[in-house]
Symmetry: C2
Subunit: 203 residues, 2 copies
Amino acid sequence: MKIIDEARAPNPRRVRIFLAEKGISIPFEPLNLIKLEHKSEAVRRLNPFAQVPILVFDDGSTLSESVAICRYFEEIQPEPALFGHGARQRAEVEMWSRRIELGLFQAVAHCFRHTHPAMAVMEQPQIAAWGEVNRGRVGEVLALIDEQLGGRAHVAGPDFSIADITLLVAVDFMKPAKIIRPTGLSNLERWYTAVSARPSAKA
Amino acid sequence: MKIIDEARAPNPRRVRIFLAEKGISIPFEPLNLIKLEHKSEAVRRLNPFAQVPILVFDDGSTLSESVAICRYFEEIQPEPALFGHGARQRAEVEMWSRRIELGLFQAVAHCFRHTHPAMAVMEQPQIAAWGEVNRGRVGEVLALIDEQLGGRAHVAGPDFSIADITLLVAVDFMKPAKIIRPTGLSNLERWYTAVSARPSAKA
C-alpha cells in the first residue's frame, strides 16, 4: 500500500494529518503539481480525475479523494474516532466538515487558484474577480466558526475530528493565498494555537 | 421532528430522495429562497450559515447540511444502506459522492448562480465569465462518469447509493442552468432512465 501525494498541496496534507492522528504509517510517493505531473497518463490511469492524493492498494486497485481515503482508514481502524461516535455526533462532524470545506476551504482555494501567479499553469482561465469575491467571503465564515468555537474545544464538539483537520489545513492555506486572518477572533486563535501544536500538524 | 426545505432547490431534494429510499416520512416545512426567506433572523437562529435543508429535532436542536442529515438517518436506520457496506465500499461511495458533488454538482451550481437572471438576487456579484467556465467543465466530468457507468449499474458499485442521488440531482439541475446534456453518453443515459424511474425521484 502507498499514497501518491504532493508535499505542499492542502488535500494530501489532510490525509497525512489524519494518518498521523491514527498512528498509521504508509509510504508516500510525492509528485509535483506545478510541473503538472498529476495530469500524466500514468496518474490518470490511477485516478481519471487527475487529482492527488491517491491510495494504491497492493493489488494495484486505487482509492482517490482525501476524505474517502480517511474514511477507509476510519473503517478499518475505528479508534481514535475522527469521524465521531454515534449517530448525532457523526452527523455533527459531517455538518462541520462540509461547512468548513464548502464555505471556507473552497473559498481559500478559489482565491489562491484565481489570483496567484504560480497557479496560472493549473487554473485556466484565471478569473481574478472571482478570486477576490472569495477572498472577501473568508472573514464571514471564520467569524461563524469563531462563534462555534466559543463553547467547545474543537469545532464539531469536545473531541478532535476530521473537521478540525480540514479547518487547520484551510487556515494554513490562507498564507499562500495571501488572505490576512482577521483579528479579534479569539476562540479561533486559541483553537489554532492548540491544534497547530499537535504533532500531527507537522505531517 | 421536521425538515425546513425548499421545493425547487437541489440540496433539499437530495434529502427528500434519501428519505424516500429509506421509507422514512418526516414533515417538511417549505420556505422560499428567491424571497430570501433563508436569510431571515428566524432561519439564522436555526442555521447561522443561512442554508436549507435544516432538520429540527423535537427538543429544538438542529442539524444542517444535506449530507449530514442523510448520514444521521443512515446511522439510526442503516438499511437499505445508502452510504455502502464495509470499509472499501463506504470509501468508494464517499469518493464518487465527492467527485460528483465537487466536480459536477458545483460546476452546475456555479453556472446557474452566475448566469441565470433570477439568481442575481442571491449571488452577488454574478460573474458571468466564471459561470461560463463551469458550463464548459460539465461535459468533461459527465464523460468520466459515463465511463465509470459502463461497468456497473450504479455509479459507486452495484447498489444504489447517495452518490446516485447527488448525480441525479446534479443532472436535473442542468435544466434550469440551461446546460445541454452531451449526446453519446449511452451509459449515463441508461443510468438516468433507470434512476429517474425510481419512485424516490419524484420526492
